[in-house]
């Protein structure tokens, strides 16, 4: 075989596209071409402006079949986990904000409705969410309960007439102010329950969180529930306590394991191109040993991350994943992606800090990804507990 020379596609080194079936490759190619045409040209402007046209994008992605693609009915595609994973990779190669939109809609709101909702709730909302004509959000975190959601203060009281009254606040809720429905988790007399809350219900307000420096192309809001009165059938009947909410999170985390490798790929591609073309001391910077080492470290971390994601994807398809396996994936791949983004940032020198290149955007976004869906620390301790048998976080 002739050696490779001067590649800018980091998948070539490990022949990573060979991991995919034809269909998975076609799904990924379709999403990539949609994003290249419709989304990528606007991303740095949206990021700078702190804006994302969520509804338009949801309709676009919905028409491709992206939203809730892992579900197999109510108008959804019924795709295998790796297909969902590679789609997350393409989305996050554009921007973590897009993958967040899809995670929250598909893996959190739609998955919760499909798994715990009533027939009536599912038929009313799932097809519209799948088409992107309705937008959903998922409210678990609170101002004073993040890593420890069991400490939540939001309450749902049953009135004598059978209605529910919700009171409390939810914090850091992706899509919050644009959503048509919120899946809200609240404390009841009998434990933690999930509710389908139409966002137009009196007493419900969503206020965007300003001054974010990360995930700027994503809407993040605070939800205020002030005496929100819901009919008896607003509760998700099959929820069994907080564990049900955590099951949804595991679905979304799975998408992150693949997604962050997209951000990493985009950084690595950009750095490789730059290293080929940028000259210093009369030579391309890619000809210097230090820059080569950085590129090699990035390529190795990227290839390992993709392989781990695929291993977890095939396990999920075959037998499902244990929580500590999902935690291992999130732990390893988010920090790998952050490391790659940081090295890529440095390779671009001064250019690396501007929005003319995607790198600093990915780097800043990944700081949120490190924190949400369970912080890096919490996943460390979940894997630590699995290895040692000692729980170190409660």
């Amino acid at each position: 075989m002739t050696p490779m020379a001067g590649v800018t596609d980091p998948d070539l080194l490990g022949d990573l596209s060979g991991l995919l079936t034809d269909e998975q490759r076609q799904f990924a190619a379709l999403v990539r071409s949609y994003l290249d045409d419709q989304i990528r040209p606007h991303l740095s402007d949206w990021f700078e402006a702190g804006h994302l046209p969520v509804r338009e994008i949801a309709r676009g992605l919905g028409s491709l079949g992206v939203l809730g693609m892992q579900l197999s009915d109510y108008g959804c595609v019924g795709a295998d986990p790796i297909s969902y994973g590679v789609v997350c990779t393409e989305l996050e190669a554009a921007d973590s904000g897009l993958r967040s939109l899809v995670s929250v809609t598909g893996s959190l709101a739609m998955f919760a409705l499909r798994t715990y909702g009533s027939q009536q709730q599912r038929t009313e909302w799932l097809p519209a969410l799948a088409r992107g004509e309705a937008v959903g959000c998922f409210g678990l975190t609170e101002p004073d309960a993040g890593s420890d959601p069991a400490a939540m203060r939001t309450t749902a009281h049953r009135t004598p007439g059978g209605d529910w009254l919700l009171n409390g606040r939810k914090m850091w809720i992706t899509n919050g102010s644009v959503a048509d429905i919120a899946i809200v988790w609240a404390r009841t007399e009998t434990g933690i329950a999930g509710f389908l809350v139409p966002t137009g219900t009196p007493g419900f307000t969503a206020v965007d969180i300003p001054r974010k420096m990360s995930l700027r192309a994503s809407i993040t809001s605070e939800l205020i529930l002030d005496g929100v009165r819901l009919p008896a059938d607003a509760v998700l009947p099959d929820v069994r306590g907080l564990g049900s909410a955590l099951t949804c999170l595991n679905e979304a985390r799975f998408g992150i394991i693949f997604g962050v490798m997209g951000a990493a790929r985009d950084c690595l591609t950009t750095a490789l191109e730059y290293a080929h073309t940028r000259q210093a001391f009369g030579r391309p910077i890619g000809s210097f040993q230090l820059q080569q080492r950085a590129l090699v470290e990035m390529a190795a971390a990227y290839t390992s991350g993709v392989l781990l994601a695929h291993r977890l994807g095939s396990l999920k398809a075959r037998q499902g994943l244990r929580p500590e396996q999902v935690s291992l994936g999130k732990f390893a791949n988010v920090s790998a992606a952050l490391g790659i983004a940081r090295q890529a940032r440095a390779i671009l020198g001064g250019s690396g800090i501007t929005l003319d290149y995607p790198i600093v955007r990915h780097l800043l976004n990944l700081e949120s990804v490190l924190t949400y869906e369970g912080t890096h620390d919490i996943h460390t301790l979940i894997v630590g507990a699995a290895l040692t048998g000692e729980r170190a976080f409660t």
């Binding site: 076609q26 949609y34 028409s63 491709l64 079949g65 992206v66 693609m69 595609v77």
Partner: protein, 259 residues
């Protein structure tokens, strides 16, 4: 209504195109093959006509084995069936042979309308639609910016420098479309999954009754006798303005026949 759409696989628009040193034909293996962009508009128009009138859309291509990917893409957009003429002997065919082959596989299948893109991005001759129409002896309405069908009559609007032509023809007819005509849809995941199950008929030269001696490079009416790569871009010329800069730029442009 039975509609055929002729589609061509071309090298990716952004890739560097090369001719094979051995026979001076386009090296199709050197670059990724994609669906000719204008043909997406032809497919879209066919799908819209089908949605409005009912019927079936068949995509037709002549090309090497991997052109089957192009058929799959059209099927994933919503076309119903594919027809693929694939034979080594066709390699290097010129426009005369290509149009002959396409006309033969289109004839006798009961198509009411055949839609083409108005140009390929690789050879860019813009002649195939007209040549196929002549061979079928069907009316041709080319460069359409709008297509309507009612009661067996085709009406096409074509933008020209002078204004807008409205052309009518009886079906069956041949149409070629320009990119203004519509906004092609993206395929969907469901479309991709469904495409795997749609029928694709693959034909060899023998199935069409075309004699091998009349097609391919050897039978082409024109021959490429020599070719050279474009010389690498030379260093630009820097002029410093000593008060006569404007005149010197004008001289430069005139010398290089740019004005």
């Amino acid at each position: 209504m039975k509609i055929a759409v002729c589609i061509k696989q071309v090298p990716d628009t952004w890739s560097e195109k090369r001719l094979s040193p051995s026979d001076a034909t386009l090296d199709r293996a050197a670059a990724e093959g994609v669906l000719n962009e204008l043909d997406e508009y032809a497919i879209e128009e066919a799908l819209r006509l089908k949605e409005g009138h009912g019927g079936e859309v068949t995509v037709v291509t002549m090309g090497p084995e991997r052109a089957a990917d192009t058929i799959r893409k059209a099927l994933s957009m919503g076309a119903d069936a594919g027809l693929h003429l694939c034979d080594e002997a066709l390699h290097g065919s010129d426009a005369c042979a290509t149009s002959d082959a396409l006309a033969r596989i289109l004839a006798g299948r009961g198509f009411d309308l055949v839609i083409f893109g108005c140009e390929s991005t690789d050879a860019r001759m813009s002649v195939i639609p007209a040549m196929v129409a002549e061979r079928l002896d069907w009316p041709q309405a080319t460069f359409a910016a709008e297509v309507q069908v009612a009661a067996g009559v085709l009406t096409v609007r074509r933008q020209t420098e002078a204004g807008v032509d409205t052309v009518t023809a009886n079906l069956p007819a041949v149409v070629s479309v320009v990119e203004k005509i519509n906004e092609p849809r993206y395929p969907s995941f469901k479309g991709i999954m469904a495409a795997k199950k749609k029928p694709v008929e693959t034909l060899s030269l023998a199935d069409t009754g075309i004699e091998a001696a009349t097609v391919g490079l050897a039978a082409a009416w024109s021959a490429v006798t020599d070719f050279a790569a474009r010389p690498p871009r030379a260093q630009g010329e820097i002029m410093s303005d000593d008060g006569d800069g404007g005149r010197r730029i004008a001289d430069y442009l005139v010398t290089n026949r740019l004005i």
